[in-house]
Amino acid sequence: MKTYGSMRFWRNVGYYAPPVAALLVFVALWEVYTRTFEVSVFILPSPSRIFQAGVNLGPALWGHTWTTLYEILLGFLVGNIAAVALAYAIVRWHMAERLIYPFLLASQTIPKLAVAPLLVIWFGTGVMPKILVTALLCFFPTAVNVVQGLRSADPAAVDLVRLVTPSKFVLFQKVQFPSAIPFFFAGLKISMSSAVIGAIVAEWVGASKGLGYLILYAGTSMRTDLMFVGVGMTVILGMLLYAAVGVLERAFSWRREG
């Protein structure tokens, strides 16, 4: 007779096995393809070759990963704090909406890669311009979603609060903000993927470490295998961070049900 715990274990195995198997099959096919057709390592290195390149890099790889993770997290934090503050202002004051929205839209159409050198001129080659580019890239999805979320509050619930207190802050704290939480997390997920791209893009200009720098360096020195190490590590990092947001969502969000 199976215990409840072991049943859950097997159900989890059943849930995660297919995607993991699909990934393994993909890697295996890739390996077989590169070996069978003797594809040049400059064009497409085999997974084993890439893995070896990563191992050879050793602690340096962790250093690059840590740098990029640090930039992603800080940029994500700064960008999302700004996003929530802007969203609050937009919903709270009509004038703010009219003033801020053009800038919001403009900030999204700025070619970030093109202005990154400018940020280097302004802020140097340290971590600051990376955080700014990351923040600039990742704040938009959160801001837009939170604005929509704050406005999703039930008008009758707003009336209910008005019946007791005229305070706009209490309304925000007790009704509008909780209403916006599912929207906030939807925004955070997109924002997290953007933050990863932001940090990598920022490292393409004036960086001396980080996964973006590794990719750029590998590209200019014809080390395709190293390039794949950088890209692969970025993908793993991105997926883990996305999953982390999912964990936070499950812990702190509520869902409209029934």
Binding site: D154, A156, A157, D159, L160, V161, R162, L163, V164, T165, V170, K174, V175, P178, I181, W254, R256, E257, G258
Partner: protein, 272 residues
């Protein structure tokens, strides 16, 4: 158009809880598409009584409630609640509202929803939960304190919303078609239970409905409104005695009241 003359004043009457005098309201006044929603509304709701506003959709019944709650202001005339204006009444916590939808906050359980308004007033947690518990019991939701709104039926959600309004401790309860979204059987049951709750927790109730039977069954006084612009067409005291029971709904007196009110309503909508 005071009702004092033609209603048998109950013993606990202490004056008029709500009073409308010459209230008119026009939406979009001064623009091309202005709509007169209310025209020269005057009537009083005596304290402690159950008064229904009966009328077809769009006759301004709900607008009347929004005026009492101070969400909107009349263009002419005045509304007073316990001799003060609605905004003051609101500040003093005199007003409770039940909407057509339960309007429970989906991220809070029943206990936290029922004690929500007291929380906004910064009542200590133990105290507000104690009050909430009393009203959860009163509306028949004992044992569901930790349930989330989506786990309750429509009728139970509306019970929770009534408990929330009562736990706030208002002296006037405004109910805007509170049973409108429920099925017919639940609706009858809720009306019956509401009377029971009202008997034990006596407040002035201003109840909006478009159901003639519901109005007669619940009320001391029924105010019939007509539409475009909304005005008072009839004020009819319902002298059926209390407490009321289900069987009364088939009594000749009950049906007579329904007939008179229905005739007024039908005259308005041009139904022959």
């Amino acid at each position: 158009m005071s009702l004092a003359a033609n209603t048998a004043a109950p013993a606990m009457r202490t004056g008029d809880a709500i009073s409308f005098s010459g209230v008119s309201l026009t939406y979009g006044a001064g623009t091309a598409n202005q709509v007169q929603a209310l025209k020269d509304i005057s009537f009083d709701v005596p304290a402690g009584q159950f008064v229904s506003i009966l009328g077809p959709s769009g006759c301004g019944k709900s607008t009347l409630l929004r005026l009492v709650a101070g969400f909107i202001q009349p263009n002419a005339g005045s509304v007073t609640v316990g001799s003060v204006d609605p905004l003051n009444a609101r500040e003093n916590g005199l007003l409770g509202v039940v909407f057509q939808q339960p309007v429970l906050l989906p991220w809070r359980n029943v206990m936290d929803n029922v004690s929500f308004l007291q929380e906004l007033r910064h009542l200590p947690k133990a105290k507000r939960q104690e009050v909430a518990k009393r009203y959860i019991d009163l509306v028949g939701l004992r044992g569901f304190e930790r349930h989330m709104p989506h786990q309750l039926s429509g009728g139970m959600q509306q019970r929770a919303s009534i408990a929330r309004a009562l736990a706030f401790g208002p002296s006037v309860l405004l109910m805007d078609e509170p049973f409108g979204a429920l099925d017919a059987l639940t609706r009858d049951r809720m009306a019956f239970d509401l009377l029971d709750i009202w008997r034990r927790d006596q407040k002035t109730v201003l109840f909006v409905t478009h159901s003639v039977q519901e109005a007669v069954f619940l009320s001391d006084i029924v105010v019939v409104m007509t539409s475009r612009p909304g005005c008072v067409r009839m004020i009819r005291p319902i002298d059926l005695g209390r407490p009321r029971d289900k069987d009364q709904r088939l009594s000749p007196e009950f049906l007579q009241h329904c007939k008179v009110l229905l005739t007024e309503l039908e005259a308005d909508i041009g139904y022959h």
